[in-house]
């Protein structure tokens, strides 16, 4: 996975992921190291053709400011940093419209990667835990992103 740039002046780490419910669509998401689960906006999931109101699974979501129950739906395909996640259970989030993203990447996805963030340069390096070769690639990319 190449080094992924982000805008450090936005004070958020925004990256592009690909999702699919047939055709691939690019979405902007926040890398949120404090979030336990990955989730997307209600409008985004509906737009992808997912019936969020028919979801039989819900979860109590505890955030820093509130506690609420949200639907859980299966996303057919999510491609993050070049890695495919199939039928990933994701949360249907009521993100305020002013949040400039379609969703958040949480621990369930981020924990599959070694991550390095250079906040000053606005660079993120992500490599999946796939063995020694990927570890070596990760270290090489980190050296370039320093």
């Amino acid at each position: 996975m190449p080094i992924v740039p982000f805008d450090p002046t936005s004070r958020l780490i925004q990256v592009t992921v690909m999702v699919s419910d047939g055709l691939m669509t690019a979405l902007t998401v926040l890398v949120d190291t404090r979030a336990g689960r990955t989730g997307f906006r209600r409008s985004t999931l509906i737009g992808l053709g997912i019936d969020v109101d028919a979801s039989e699974q819900t979860i109590r979501l505890n955030t820093a400011s509130e506690s609420l129950i949200v639907p859980v739906v299966n996303l057919p395909l999510l491609r993050v940093f070049g890695v495919d996640f199939r039928d990933l259970p994701v949360l249907c989030l009521s993100l305020p419209p002013t949040v400039p993203a379609d969703g958040v990447l949480g621990f369930d996805v981020l924990s599959r990667f070694r991550l390095f963030v250079n906040y000053r340069r606005g660079l993120i390096v992500a490599e999946p835990f796939n063995g020694l070769w990927d570890r070596a690639k990760f270290l090489y990319q980190v050296a370039k992103a320093m």
Binding site: L12, D32, S43, T44, I46, G47
Partner: protein
């Protein structure tokens, strides 16, 4: 996805400050990054569910839902 359209940035600029979701069907993308370049407006609505339903009308299957309103000073805790 070779159809022409209006540059996405130009579309968003036109609706800037309306405090609504602009739903755009993407008509062309950057071949390297797959990021959207041009598109056409499908709907402009303050209702999020309505925006999602409108996005399903994107014949290309590739849509964008963008909030056009105040975004500065967002703090997420």
């Amino acid at each position: 996805m070779n159809q022409k359209g209006e540059p996405i940035e130009q579309i968003l600029e036109r609706y800037k400050g309306q405090n609504a979701f602009v739903v755009i069907e993407v008509l062309s993308v950057d071949p390297k990054t797959q990021k959207p370049l041009t598109g056409r407006v499908i709907a402009v609505t303050p209702d999020e569910t309505e925006a999602g339903l409108a996005a399903r009308k994107a014949r290309s299957g590739y849509f964008l839902i963008k909030w056009v309103g105040e975004v500065e000073g967002v703090v997420i805790v």
